[in-house]
């Protein structure tokens, strides 16, 4: 049963990882951080990535439920958006939503170096880490 710190440390072990954070997208609060922030301040990065995550999580155009989303237990809470990826000239940012058993609004943010990072690997690993956070 890994906690927030273990989860962020594991994210930082990915090739090219430069910074990681667990952020609440509703308030913009960083619940935990590791490594560096692109602007030198994790709190600013958390507030900014939270705005992006909130738009993705809330806009109707992204809210179509998947075919496997069965009606009934938990389906109304199921987060339709899995992740948001931003590619910049020097890096990748992967925002992975975390689904909890209670009402929450958190995501993992991983900042990767463009040359050293492996986006496909990072995406898969972040999914596993997000699931590990809520694994009983």
């Amino acid at each position: 049963m890994p906690g927030i710190d273990e989860c962020l440390l594991e994210a930082m072990a990915l090739p090219g990882a430069r910074g990681a954070a667990l952020v609440d997208w509703s308030s913009g609060l960083a619940l935990g951080t590791a490594g560096d922030s692109p602007v030198g301040d994790h709190e600013t990065t958390a507030a900014e990535t939270a705005e992006l995550a909130r738009a993705a999580a809330e806009y109707e155009s992204f809210a179509q439920a998947g075919p496997e989303a069965a009606p009934g237990a938990g389906a109304d809470r199921a987060q339709p958006v899995e992740d948001v990826i931003v590619t910049t000239r020097s890096g990748y940012h992967v925002l992975r939503f975390v689904e909890t058993s209670f009402d929450s609004s958190v995501f993992l943010h991983l900042w990767l170096d463009r040359t050293e990072g492996n986006l496909a690997l990072a995406r898969l690993r972040l999914r596993a880490l997000a699931e590990g956070l809520v694994l009983r």
Partner: protein, 259 residues
């Protein structure tokens, strides 16, 4: 930054953190629990507690919460019991507990929260989960105040009943907003809605400000100035005289220091 923005939210908290104190900091609108100067728990009558956040929506059965409090409350290890008994994932507990700390601290450290008392050595039965530096909680509390006003500077929304307005043609209402609006019956305040939805109270205040800014919730009119004028002021004080903030601050600090 102005002197006002950098001023400590609570000088007593800053001092307790510096001396690595352990105990409970009691204020009118909430209590902060410290261990070695770090904040390990917080609760406020203005916010839904960990129990409400975890059990509303069925994530954790209320019986499991009660069982944990009954069996591990006396040992002050409720949090560990919940995780060890499989009721909750370790990461989930940390996420929810941190949300509850920052939520309660926002209200406990609000300007109108009155004087502080410190009960040295007091601990909370929830037990140890994660701790946060006092400075981080103060900084976040200040950021949250500024965020609310940056979204829509109408503080009266925080305490008034939430009155929904019809969406404009083509206007998007998000799923979380719909859930909130569905419970806004014109009587419930943002705090009431936080309890019903099992969401942190600050998140509900913020959502209501965002909804009001989007025109989906009525913005109450500012209280009429006449109410203030009706109270008689001492002769030496005129209506236009602003309170001496620095003096009030020194008075408060002196009062807190003497407690």
């Amino acid at each position: 930054m102005t002197a006002l923005a950098t001023a400590a939210v609570s000088p007593l908290l800053t001092r307790l953190a510096a001396e690595r104190a352990t105990g409970a900091l009691l204020r009118d609108r909430g209590t902060l629990f410290l261990e070695d100067g770090r904040i390990v728990h917080a609760e406020s009558p203005a916010t839904p507690g960990l129990d409400v956040l975890l059990t509303t929506g069925g994530g954790l059965a209320p019986e499991r919460w009660r069982e944990a409090v009954d069996r591990a409350g006396a040992r002050r290890q409720v949090a560990r019991f919940l995780v060890d008994s499989g009721g909750l994932a370790g990461g989930e507990l940390e996420i929810c507990h941190l949300a509850a700390i920052f939520d309660a601290a926002f209200f406990a450290l609000s300007p109108g929260s009155g004087p502080s008392r410190f009960r040295r050595g007091a601990t909370h039965w929830i037990g140890s989960v994660r701790s946060v530096p006092a400075a981080a909680v103060e900084r976040e509390t200040r950021r949250r105040r500024e965020l609310l006003d940056a979204v829509w500077p109408y503080p009266q929304l925080d305490t008034s009943p939430v009155v929904p307005r019809a969406a404009a043609p083509g206007q998007t209402v998000t799923a979380r907003q719909r859930a909130l609006l569905a419970h806004a019956d014109g009587l419930r305040t943002p705090a009431d809605l936080a309890w019903v939805l099992g969401r942190p109270a600050f998140h509900t205040l913020l959502d209501v400000r965002r909804l009001a800014a989007a025109g989906l919730v009525e913005t109450p009119l500012a209280p009429v100035r006449a109410v203030r004028a009706a109270t008689t002021l001492p002769d030496w004080m005129t209506d236009t005289q602003s309170p001496d903030v620095a003096l009030l601050r020194r008075l408060r600090d002196a009062l807190e220091a003497s407690l």
